[in-house]
Symmetry: C2
């Protein structure tokens, strides 16, 4: 295979994904012209890629001239183990916690220096809309601090050196203070974040472990105000996290754990 | 652009998706050699595509030599409007129905001649595992019959001419009888399917409409046995479907409905 062909291949796959990346939570349906602009591709090239993506099902034509992400892509993407395996185990426990505590319950994982809401059982439709799949800052959420507390020292340091945004007047974005808070999360086993991402949100979160004792996710409770009971609520969340961790380990140790012991560094789940 | 380049482009995008299609619910982690065999691609080509997919996040290396679908693909795929818009509206109502009736609640859409479970609130973990995203036969499920009843006459006829599988001794797969059942579903507004997909499953389902009165999904209740109360349960499901339909229409008429009126034939949601 010639060098030019390799280079051309790379370019085509990258262009294809740049078409998919043109879509986001705000703009779920786009015209070819919209996509062309966002992906920085000529209209003809965009049209050609879009046509192929439609024929495979990665895009759907939702009306004459607009396109959206297709259900076929969603079907394949559900196979992401970080989503499907964890969701299947966690969901029944999340529903129980939701029913028992009457508050929103969330499940999150870390991707580099951000968190991603993997699943949620929300008390209101407003919160539910678009929340699953959204990214959130690690420093200003309880789930984020849990995930940060169990990240590598290098990842922690990388975050602390960033200019951390203050979302409200309560947001703790001083690296020194944050470092101390995160250390405490590791000791106490849970994190509390009160009005730091939004004035009307208080969250409590705890880690979920795999069979090797590695933190793979955070489960959290979200309420509108603190009410002074966050530490009490943390106990309920901790108990739920324990059940999920045990169940996940029982089901997936054979599948993931043993293999991962061999190459932990290469492959954080 | 030369014809050969167009052909080569097409080939690369298709090969890329054949790599993604190598994964399924049974095999969520594969080696390059596994993928190469399933996608019918040379190992070197497979390795090259896999490397690019990893760098974009469509695949993740979950250990030294195994790969799985990546969270970045899942993130983009969540933007599929058939999933996200409907899920956001339906989920709180599904949770209410689940809490009130104490049974599993499912949300499904049709893709050609199959159904896809879009969302589920399951009473047990066993049912939850892998269910969302799975496909199911239209003729042997309540949700499937609802979706079939509101499909085009051409789609219905295409299904009836197929050799329909009998999953249990109760499965109705005689085209003539099935046609009559499906007509009845359209009149009564709900479908019941008792032990036809599995001996231990009885389901009741009703349609969810968009603001234009088109059926966009089916919501169902799943229980282990019939108990003679399926028609009663249908009322509760109908009431829930009505709430979801109204809410969906209120939120998305502006976004989808008006545009779709212009080109309904091209773009069933």
């Amino acid at each position: 295979m010639s060098v030019s062909q390799v280079s051309e291949d790379r370019s085509i796959i990258e262009r294809t994904f740049s078409v998919l990346e043109a879509f986001n939570f705000q703009d779920r349906s786009l015209t070819v012209s919209d996509i062309s602009q966002r992906a920085c591709l000529p209209v003809a090239t965009t049209y050609r890629i879009v046509t192929k993506l439609v024929s495979w099902g990665a895009l759907e034509r939702i009306e004459g001239s607009r396109y959206s992400i297709g259900l076929r892509l969603w079907e394949i993407a559900l196979l992401a183990p970080r989503h499907s395996a964890l969701r299947a185990v966690a969901m029944p426990y999340m529903l129980q916690l939701h029913a028992r505590a009457g508050v929103s319950v969330t499940l999150a994982v870390r991707d580099e220096l951000e968190g991603i809401w993997l699943e949620g059982v929300w008390t209101s439709e407003a919160r539910c809309r678009g929340a699953v799949g959204n990214r959130f800052p690690l420093h200003a959420t309880a789930a984020g601090r849990v995930l940060l507390a169990h990240a590598s020292p290098e990842t922690q340091e990388e975050l602390y050196t960033r200019n951390l945004h203050a979302y409200t007047r309560w947001t703790q974005n001083d690296p020194l203070v944050l470092r101390a808070i995160v250390e405490q999360v590791k000791i106490s086993g849970y994190a509390i974040c009160d009005r730091e991402l939004s004035e009307s949100v208080c969250s409590v979160a705890t880690p979920i472990f795999d069979g090797d004792g590695a933190v793979i996710a955070a489960i959290g409770q979200v309420t509108e105000t603190e009410n002074g009971d966050a530490a009490q609520r943390a106990e309920l969340v901790l108990a739920t996290a324990k059940l999920i961790s045990e169940r996940f380990a029982a089901l997936h140790s054979a599948e993931y754990g043993k293999k991962r012991r061999r190459s932990r560094q290469q492959a954080p789940l």
